[in-house]
């Protein structure tokens, strides 16, 4: 589904991603772990070209999604971002109604059919396990929801445009434990339909939700393997040290 080949990425002179090649299979959850500033979020944001929004950056290597290099000149970035959805660290609903938040992606992508939009909004909210909580107040402001609900709304918003990949950048780090477990449950459910890549600071979370885990340090991919193996019997000592909490 996603494959990177010898990716190097620079912020100005700073070499943030060092020669990373990895593969992510469809319908799996891949977790990126590592200490702050290790490049895991930067690497994640390469997959929907969010780093394009930052000035003075440079990329080398290839990033293939569905076997197409997404940095090829022929790629329409807006189309790419429709196919590769993203959920951010802090819930960031728009200052609009719950309904409008979910409908936004459809509307900006030219969908006009109101019935279709309403149906998609309902489906997406259901898929994000939020429908029952909001079905009676769809036209209330998204800001009336709790933090955890807002984050599920942002997931619903991303699902509405029917992506095949879902990128999550520490999606639960700003949430309380109950909301966090709801998001994790949701990730389990979404796996059957989407390829999910999640960045997390929380080792237990990576262990709970992911099939594969990549450990990043100082811009390098130190180790990448099945999550079980990674947490029980990692190949590298650095990984072992990080996972057992000796640094980070």
């Amino acid at each position: 589904m996603i494959e990177t080949k010898n990716i190097n990425f620079y912020y100005g002179d700073f070499h943030a991603i060092k020669n990373i090649s990895m593969k992510m299979e469809p319908n799996t959850v891949t977790a990126f772990i590592g200490p702050s500033g290790c490049g895991k979020s930067t690497f994640l944001r390469l997959f929907n070209r969010m780093n394009d929004l930052i000035n003075n950056t440079r990329l080398e290597g290839e990033c293939l999604i569905k076997s197409k290099n997404i940095y090829d000149k022929s790629i329409d970035v807006d189309e790419l971002r429709k196919d590769v959805g993203m959920v951010f660290q802090k819930p960031n609903p728009f200052p609009k109604s719950i309904f409008e938040n979910v409908a936004y992606g459809l509307k900006v992508n030219g969908v006009k059919d109101k019935k279709f939009i309403a149906q998609k909004v309902e489906e997406s909210l259901m898929a994000a396990a939020l429908w029952d909580e909001v079905k009676d107040k769809l036209h209330k402001s998204a800001f009336e929801l709790s933090g955890g609900q807002q984050q599920r709304l942002c997931i619903a918003r991303a699902l509405a445009v029917a992506p095949s990949v879902l990128l999550m950048d520490e999606p639960a780090s700003a949430l309380d434990p109950i909301s966090t477990s709801k998001i994790e449950e949701l990730i389990h459910q979404l796996k059957s339909n989407y390829t999910i890549v999640i960045v997390t600071h929380n080792m237990q979370q990576a262990a709970r939700v992911s099939d594969k885990t990549g450990f990043f340090m100082m811009g390098e991919l130190v180790e990448y393997s099945d999550t079980k193996k990674m947490f029980l019997n990692p190949d590298k000592e650095t990984t072992q040290n990080y996972i057992t909490g000796r640094f980070g």
């Binding site: 960031n92 609903p93 992606g105 992508n109 402001s141 918003r157 445009v161």
Partner: protein, 284 residues
């Protein structure tokens, strides 16, 4: 002298000065109100001046000021907001933007009489609009542009970056993001800029002096190419060069009061709109 007494004296002086400022404002308003309220009645607000402006009302001047306010906003709001969108959303922080910003600040510091002179040279003479509402509106519009640009820029900058990234992440283009997310969020603060400029436009005399203002007109303007009377200029005329300055004095105070009330009204209206939009943004 011990510390405590010094402190008390200092506090007393500070308080005195700040009360003094309030006092000045209240006495100006009070003075205008007391002298002006006597002449204000329905007739004063709805009829034209009579008997060489020593009697009658100020209706044409009210209408003229209203036209000028609206006219200048029609011109300055789209231009100012669009240029703010350019500098904040598109241009980054390069040399061009710094240059534009510097020029905007310079524009703000030009004396208003110079705007009047420029408006006369360009709109009245060069473009051949003559003394007209359109020439006056454009001149006043130029005067308010810096205010609108600056406040719109601040309003756009205040929109959280996460709205932008959230929108782009859904496949929205830049223009769509600006139209559907950024502008609606910035609107209440942009309105603040418009409030400020309305206050400025309705009170300015110098820019309209050579571009639109008429000494006396028996009837209302019939097109944007007509001259118009306007409250601030009318006040000036009544106070300095009427047919009988002494006899027009009460009317001058009445005019001043109406002018203040109009500025106040526009401010309240815009503040109300702003509050409603803010509320709607939160609830909707």
């Amino acid at each position: 002298m011990n510390k405590k007494i010094k402190q008390n004296i200092a506090f007393f002086v500070f308080r005195l000065f700040s009360l003094l400022i309030v006092g000045v404002l209240i006495s100006i308003l009070g003075f205008i109100a007391i002298n002006g309220i006597q002449v204000i009645d329905w007739e004063f607000l709805t009829t034209a001046p009579k008997e060489g402006m020593t009697e009658g009302g100020i209706f044409p001047a009210i209408v003229g000021t209203f036209y000028l306010v609206v006219g200048s906003l029609i011109f300055a709001v789209p231009l100012g907001v669009m240029s703010a969108i350019y500098t904040v959303e598109y241009a980054g922080n390069g040399r061009i933007v710094r240059f534009i910003r510097m020029m905007t600040n310079n524009l703000a510091s030009i004396p208003s009489i110079v705007f009047g002179l420029f408006g006369m040279a360009l709109f009245v003479n060069k473009l051949g609009f003559g003394d007209s509402i359109i020439a006056g509106s454009l001149t006043l519009g130029l005067l308010t542009l810096p205010i609108i640009i600056r406040t719109s820029e601040e309003a756009l900058k205040a929109v959280p970056e996460s709205y932008r990234t959230g929108s782009y992440a859904l496949g929205a283009g830049k223009l769509q993001t600006i139209r559907k997310v950024i502008l609606p969020s910035a609107m209440p603060n942009i309105l603040t800029g418009i409030i400020l400029s309305v206050g400025r436009v309705s009170g300015e005399t110098a820019p309209i002096l050579f571009t639109v203002a008429a000494y006396f007109l028996p009837s209302l303007p019939d097109s944007i190419f007509s001259q118009a009377m306007a409250l601030p200029y009318h006040l000036y005329v009544l106070a300095t060069s009427g047919t009988d300055v002494e006899a027009s004095r009460p009317i001058a105070y009445g005019t001043a009061l109406v002018l203040i009330m109009i500025v106040l009204f526009f401010n309240l209206l815009a503040a109300f709109l702003r509050q409603r939009l803010n509320k709607k943004l939160k609830q909707h």
